[in-house]
């Protein structure tokens, strides 16, 4: 997809991303003694990136529009619990629907508050995060969660393919990628999102509908969190309430590594995909190298700070 992005953003997100991905792949291959590059492993990496990839696309939309969404991880957790909670009365379809409505609603609420008040986006989404986290415990009544339906009903559809377990997550991520790319790069709403992130006051004067654009961006981020919850349950079947909160860190890191400007107004979904793949590769390589998962945040934090330092330097 040829994306019309601007010069400085292009330098960063086109070339350095490809370069970055290549570097990461080489390092991953070395750390894992080649295990990483086996097709089976690559496919597993891709599938494991699916849920947080979806969340990252939503996060990227928000960051490009000039905000931050700290609620994404908790919205995933809340959606997971909502599916279980409403499944008992309305079946798995009803539960899924309820999760999507709740998560979307939380996003829309955040977008509304951000657009209509002077409260900074990070405070609003921090509030939503706290509420969603509590909701995830309340909805699941503090009990461990098991949802087998997604895996049972979807996995057999692809059983004719090798490693069939991984096909569904990859397809969903692909769908999310195409949808958000179309929105951001081929529709007028995408132009609004960029305009808003670059200069909100100027966007207002040329008639960009600020409220609707923010509702769209934050609502979509909530929606993608709900979809990520479905993918998560498909892959893991069980979860504890509050699980999924880590996606905040992952999505934020992927967005920054993917070349989205932290001040808003620049970045591409394709770049974010590269960021997602880089992070998935790094985590996969770390796992293969036997580094305990509790240390990953530290590694990702260092990467984020490095990327962000370079961005700040490039900004003149």
């Amino acid at each position: 997809m040829q994306v019309a992005i601007t010069k400085s953003a292009a330098d960063w997100s086109r070339f350095s991303n490809v370069f970055l991905l290549a570097a990461v792949l080489v390092i991953a291959a070395v750390i894992s003694h080649g295990v990483f590059l086996r097709p089976a492993n690559l496919m597993i990496v891709l599938a494991s990136a699916s849920a947080f990839g979806l969340v990252s696309f939503g996060q990227a939309l928000v960051v490009i529009s000039g905000g931050f969404d700290l609620s994404v991880g908790s919205l995933v957790a809340m959606s997971i619990s909502a599916i279980v909670c409403f499944r008992s009365d309305f079946g798995i379809v009803g539960g899924t629907l309820a999760a999507v409505i709740l998560s979307c609603g939380a996003g829309l609420f955040g977008g509304f508050v951000v657009a209509r008040t002077r409260i900074p986006p990070f405070i609003v989404t921090l509030g939503v995060m706290s509420i969603a986290e509590s909701m995830s415990w309340l909805l699941a009544a503090g009990q461990p969660i098991t949802v087998e339906e997604y895996n049972d009903s979807i996995a057999p559809l692809f059983s004719f393919l090798p490693l069939s377990e991984n096909v569904f997550p990859i397809l969903v991520m692909l769908a999310g990628l195409i949808a958000t790319s179309l929105l951001l790069h081929a529709s007028k709403w995408g132009r609004y999102v960029y305009a808003l992130g670059d200069n909100e006051a100027a966007a207002r004067i040329v008639g960009v509908p600020i409220l609707r654009t923010k509702l769209l961006v934050y609502g979509l981020s909530g929606f993608l969190s709900a979809v990520a919850a479905i993918v998560y349950l498909y892959q893991n079947i069980s979860a504890t309430p509050g699980e999924g909160a880590d996606y905040l860190l992952l999505s934020f890191a992927a967005t920054m590594v993917g070349g989205v400007n932290m001040y808003g107004g620049a970045g591409s979904i394709l770049g974010v995909l590269v960021g997602v793949l880089c992070l998935a590769s790094i985590t996969s390589a770390l796992t293969i190298a036997g580094i305990p998962p509790s240390v990953y945040p530290g590694v990702l934090g260092v990467i984020v700070l490095a990327v962000v330092l370079v961005q700040a330097r490039l900004r003149r």
């Binding site: 179309l182 670059d198 200069n199 004067i205 040329v206 960009v208 509908p209």
Partner: protein, 514 residues
């Protein structure tokens, strides 16, 4: 005779542009020296050089008769030079006393603040200046004049005896101006040298002993204020080379076809001042006046960016009650904001995106037709002669003039009926000004109504058929066609300053209104 400050042959270049060319000024101690000139004449550059904020490219600086090296903010402060910047150097959330001593506190035992002594000193200074302000009041609660006085007190606390006051009189009302003048006169009587920079010629004439006039970065002359009228000063400021005949209105081009915009009794303030004017189809009207006169506020209130306290705006017979940018654009009114960085451009986006945005906002098709957008943006860019590599180039990489053209280019087509432009000539070169004016004329010929605000009224001469002059948040004159000359305009640039003890010469100041 030794002078407090002498500048000899000062030149300042920024890249290729010259802000000052060989300026020499000598100011004796205990004088109020007025410094006047149009925008871009070099007043603030000169002030910054004296305050040490800017280093001259060449020339000599002498203090009290002996040559000094170029000043830095620190050495300037040590040499007793203080500056009161246009918008003050005060922290609005802090109290008067805290601000007066900020960065210069008096300490007592154990390094703790000696509050009693600070209060005493602050009180003494304010009393000396004849101003009664509560030391515990928060600065954001003070009137503009009192803020100026506090900023002056702050400078005095650093033992300065050469004070630069940059646009001190702007946005003060009559009573406040009298207060500020009284304060500055008291300081002069205590042998403090004052450099007073202002757009308001009457203000300068009333206060100063001598007045230095700058034009295009060069010294024009230094006048004795006692023997000068505001009108003479106006002539010196604008120069003689600009005559009305040079820019004769291209008649026929601006034939008015019918009424379009009617602004009646509009205001954004709580007091009684209200504004009324109207614009016809194909008519270009201008609004000028010194900085801080309220021109921008008026236009922003019309467009709905500021809430109106009273009055109506009618477009083509239809009253526009709820005004916000989207509503106004739908009604066919577009706005070019004063500050292209703050409100005009998406600097990191392409020229095409910047131009296409309003077009997109009002088309129902959700997906972009990139070819069409590119062609239409390129067409608009061509019309207003934007110099660029391609429409895909980043708007932030353009020169100032071309950036401004991008902001105007958005509105060239798509059937808008009225265009409001707020300071479209700010910080751009002559060629770009010409191109923008050509585009404005073309739009007027096509039947649009246009309102242009500019402090640089020279650009409006020959463009507008009606010119409103605004001073101190009031329309003081409505000039028509061949009455629009620099001399006529500047005649209204004055306050009615009621000097409690008017020097006899001051009586020669031309009356404010005819």
């Amino acid at each position: 005779m030794t002078y407090r400050l002498e500048l000899e042959d000062i030149t300042k270049e920024y890249g290729n542009t010259r802000a000052l060319t060989g300026v020499s000024v000598a100011i004796p101690a205990g004088q109020v020296r007025g410094l006047v000139g149009e925008n871009g004449a070099g007043k603030s550059t000169l002030a910054k050089i004296i305050a040490g904020d800017v280093r001259p490219s060449s020339g000599k600086v002498k203090l009290n008769g002996s040559e000094s090296s170029y000043l830095t903010p620190a050495t300037a402060r040590k040499a007793g030079i203080g500056i009161v910047h246009q918008w003050g150097d005060l922290v609005p959330t802090m109290t008067v006393e805290e601000n007066i001593f900020l960065g210069n506190e008096i300490r007592g035992a154990l390094g703790a603040l000696d509050k009693a002594q600070m209060r005493r000193k602050a009180k003494a200074v304010l009393q000396e200046l004849g101003v009664d302000v509560d030391l515990r009041a928060t600065v954001s609660e003070l009137s503009p004049a009192h803020r100026q006085v506090i900023a002056i007190s702050k400078a005095l606390m650093l033992n300065c005896d050469l004070l630069i006051v940059d646009e001190g009189g702007v946005s003060l009302d009559k009573k406040e101006t009298v207060l500020l003048h009284a304060v500055l006169r008291k300081l002069r009587d205590q042998k403090v040298t004052i450099i007073y920079i202002s757009h308001l010629l009457d203000d300068v004439v009333a206060l100063s002993d001598e007045i230095t006039v700058l034009r295009n970065g060069a010294l024009v002359e230094t006048l004795n204020a006692r023997a000068t009228t505001a009108r003479e000063l106006a002539t010196a400021v604008v120069g003689h080379e600009v005559g009305a005949t040079q820019h004769a209105l291209e008649s026929g081009a601006a034939k008015t076809r019918g009424p379009l915009l009617d602004v009646a009794g509009l205001s954004w303030m709580r007091d009684a001042s209200e504004f009324s004017f109207s614009v016809g189809e194909g008519e270009i009207i201008g609004i000028t006046g010194p900085e801080g006169a309220g021109k921008s506020e008026l236009l922003r209130t019309v467009f709905g960016l500021m809430p109106a306290t009273q009055g109506t705006v009618t477009l083509g017979g239809e009253r526009l009650a709820r005004r916000d940018p989207r509503q106004m654009l739908k009604a066919g009114v577009a706005f070019v904001p004063e500050d292209r960085f703050q409100e005009g451009l998406m600097l990191n986006r392409s020229i095409e995106e910047n131009i296409s945005l309003p077009t997109l906002s009002f088309q129902s098709r959700p997906f972009l037709r990139k070819g069409t957008l590119r062609d239409s943006a390129a067409r608009k860019a061509d019309q207003i002669k934007i110099r660029m590599a391609s429409v895909e180039a980043r708007a932030g990489d353009l020169s100032g003039g071309n950036q401004q053209k991008v902001v105007v280019a958005r509105w060239l087509e798509d059937g808008y009926r009225l265009l409001l432009l707020d300071e479209p000539y700010k910080g751009i070169d002559i060629g770009a000004k010409q191109d923008i004016n050509d585009a404005i004329r073309a739009m007027a010929i096509a039947g649009r109504g246009i309102v242009v605000i500019s402090t640089e009224f020279v650009e409006l001469i020959g463009l507008v058929s009606t010119l409103l002059v605004m001073v101190n948040r009031r329309i003081v004159a409505v000039l028509k066609e061949n009455k629009i000359t620099p001399q006529e305009i500047v005649r209204y640039y004055q306050y009615e300053v009621d000097d409690p003890t008017p020097a006899p010469e001051n009586a020669r100041i031309a009356p404010a209104r005819t």
